[in-house]
């Protein structure tokens, strides 16, 4: 083989690899793109820049607002949550957080324990986290622990899964360009916001605080919570606090409350604190007629009330706002506060006008840039 032939082979190989990488970037896009933005933006944060990190499912970002907490209490925080995140993902998220951040508190939402074994292994929620995290030993371990053996390959190489999105090729190209342009997006916290500007007044509700009965957790989610607790204990992590975000309970949801009680008991057994927000509905001033957009999620009003209560409680106990931060980080959070206020105003307007509007990072960006 001549030198020029060898050069040609090398060039073609480089082109092919480039094409595969390019296609991978363009095609590997999910429906829940707010999740992708939220996860990817976490990795753009400066090292050790967070005082608090919230880990969990959708309630981690619909019920709590990091910009508001900064505005009111002065500490920096981030909601690292993905939609319907199963309990098993929490450990993986925790490991990722500990790689780059050293927060005073890591708040872990236990929403995932309410998922049965089928939900715990659902592909979509698993991919929302796994496909957006960078390659690492933890990623491999997460796949091995949570994904059935015969499905793992497409998690290691997501293109195997996403290439069938070719019908949305144009949209994917547009989103890829968008992501490329906004890769230095300053609206780190707002970008991942997702929710619905709406009020669902709850017609029938039952008081839940006194209901202390327990019910065994689902097998897989229970096992994953136990593994997480064992991991925390083994690593000697003392800055872990668990939480259960508030719901509006009907008779049908009693088993959920009982599973929550069992989870709380297990958390206490391992010596960790669990803040059950269901117990502080009155203290927060949550009004079931105005503050929820569905049974499990708070709207922008409820989010404000919960953030005010939780932020104060955490700041008082863990002195979150005592840590000094670089001017650059403070400036960014100040911009986030401005963005938050715009989103709040917009959502408030929509609710007053009686419009039900779902919003994700795209709408949020438009609102901010107005």
């Amino acid at each position: 083989m001549t030198k020029s032939q060898k050069c040609k082979i090398l060039m073609m190989t480089v082109i092919m690899i480039g094409l595969v990488c390019g296609m991978n970037f363009i095609m590997c896009r999910q429906a829940y793109s707010s999740d992708a933005v939220r996860v990817k933006n976490f990795y753009k944060l400066e090292k050790n820049s967070l005082d608090m990190v919230m880990i969990g499912a959708s309630t981690a970002f619909t019920d709590y607002s990091a910009p508001l907490a900064f505005q009111e209490f002065g500490y920096t925080s981030y909601s690292l949550g993905t939609n319907a995140a199963p309990m098993g993902i929490a450990k993986s998220m925790l490991i990722e957080v500990l790689k780059t951040q050293n927060p005073k508190v890591i708040l872990i939402d236990i929403n995932g324990i309410l998922y049965n074994d089928d939900f715990e292994t659902r592909e979509g929620p698993l991919r929302s986290w796994i496909d957006n995290m960078p390659y690492s030993e933890n990623k491999v371990q997460t796949i091995q622990e949570l994904v059935p053996e015969d499905e793992r390959l497409s998690y290691y190489i997501p293109f195997l899964k996403y290439h069938s999105n070719w019908a949305k090729f144009k949209d994917n190209v547009e989103e890829s360009i968008d992501e490329f342009i906004h890769q230095d997006n300053i609206h780190l916290l707002s970008a991942g916001i997702q929710g619905t500007a709406q009020i669902i007044p709850q017609k029938s509700s039952i008081p839940i605080r006194a209901h202390t009965q327990e019910r065994p957790m689902y097998h897989l989610s229970g096992q994953h919570l136990k593994e997480l607790l064992e991991y925390c204990q083994k690593q000697g992590l003392t800055n872990i606090v668990f939480t259960n975000m508030p719901r509006y309970y009907s008779e049908k949801m009693i088993p959920e409350r009982e599973r929550n009680n069992a989870a709380k008991a297990l958390i206490h057994q391992y010596g960790y604190e669990c803040i059950d927000m269901d117990d502080y509905v009155d203290e927060m001033g949550l009004n079931p007629q105005t503050d929820f957009y569905n049974q499990n999620h708070l709207n922008i009003y409820g989010q404000k009330k919960l953030t005010m209560y939780l932020g104060k409680r955490l700041d008082e106990k863990y002195h979150l706002s005592d840590t000094p931060h670089d001017e650059k980080i403070i400036q960014r959070y100040q911009q986030e506060v401005v963005a938050y206020e715009k989103i709040y105003k917009w959502a408030d307007e929509q609710i007053r006008l009686g419009k039900k509007k779902r919003y994700n990072y795209k709408e949020v960006r438009e609102i901010i840039e107005k």
Binding site: T2, K8, I9, L19, M23, I157, L160, H163, W166
Partner: protein
Amino acid sequence: MAFNTLVFLLFFLFVLVGSFLIPAKWKWIFLLIASYFFYCYASVKFLIFILLTTLSSYIATLYMGKQYQMEKSHTSTKENKKKYQLKRKRVLILTLVLNFGILLFLKYFHFFAENINHLLETLSLGSQIPTLHLILPLGISFYTFQTMSYVIDVYWGKVEPERNLAKVALFVSFFPQILQGPIGRFKDLAPQLYAPKKASYHDLKFGLQLMLWGYFKKMIIADRAAVIANFVFENYLNVSGMGVALGVFMYAIQDYTDFSGCIDIARGCAQAMGITMAENFRRPYFSKSVSEFWRRWHMSLGSWMKDYVFYPFSLTQGVRKIGKFAKKHFGKHMGRTLPIALGNLLVFFLVGVWHGAQWNYIVWGIFYGLLIGISGLMKPVWSYLNQKLHIPVQSHGFQLFQILRTFWITCVGCIIFRAATFADGWHIFLKCFHFYEFPIGIKKELVSFGLNGKNYVVLLVGFIVLLIVDILQEKKSVRECIEKRSVWVRWGVYIVAFLIVLLFGMYGPGYDQTQFVYMQF
């Protein structure tokens, strides 16, 4: 390790790089190790069968080679020659019985047992033969036929026996062809496998091109056509006449693109490593007659059958007598074509049996055997009719008619081959004649087959590309044409083809059509 899996691509990349880096004289050892790794990857427990075939053919060919030499030596007497010939014959029969016996037992025991039990039940006889659900070793039909051709060739003295067991093992197990062929011949394949030669840049380029074309056929066309064909054949009762006709057409397309696609990948793999494997398809759907179709479809099996079944059978005394009888009573034409027709009937019966232990395969084989036999016998009648009716047989229109007629016959063959039962096949056949019955919700019906609109477009475009390439291939080599173009055009074609397969190919989780049709045989 199917060809359209990532594991195979990684494996092939490793072997390809290895075959370039390893000193040429050791290349065959490297290929042997790679081939056995490939085979063991499917299952180690199958290894015993391929080892048995290798060892038995090695011993038999060595022994027969020695006897052949002694028989041909000048010092050998006429009596001794007969003795040596007899010994060779005995060893040949023993080897054939052993190897085809394994194949028959593993592939057909369940079928025989089931049918005999059915017969016993009908006759109200109590005893039952146990039905064993045996797992078929990978590629057994292909490697058994390939190895036995070598054994027979040595018996006939056409090739010298290979004295190195490991080299015989490589010939039997060479990984690109073990899954679905083509069924190689020792004289063509073995010298290339053992030759201390490295692949050239040209081989590498052309090999990879052929692989890419194979992947295009399999992953863009065959796997999409399979979705429609599978649905229609399983739900034909609830599908309109047009839908059923489309399903049958799609199965014909799937069968061709799936099998020929796999063969292209296999041949491309080998070519990239500097080994040229036998051609197996030559645009069969452009055939003007059924016999031509079989000269263009699964050519390596056809040529195997011709050399090792058809000719030996035609030369038997019984068939000669039949020929003489036919000549005497029915004329010269009958005397010549009747033995050929009988030979074809036997060959196609065996082709049917080769495909598997199911009655539909046997009937499918006989269907083609009868068609070819009868068309041969009736040739003077057709010629007479053409002359009397002044049909311009050389015109393009008539040739197109012949092509469409042959394709239609192969579609009937597809129905027999694919339908779950004969009753199903018959109903599908009848429903095809109602192809003009368009359902009111035509879009809804098409989508119900399992493909959405965009996938239909991809399938259609893929089919048009295939048609254009096949038409061009009839005149000249498309690859040679591309080769003559400027580097920009060439590389543009490669990159676009690569991107098309990468994006539009059916693979990854959620697709069940990844199995190659002929892998089961």
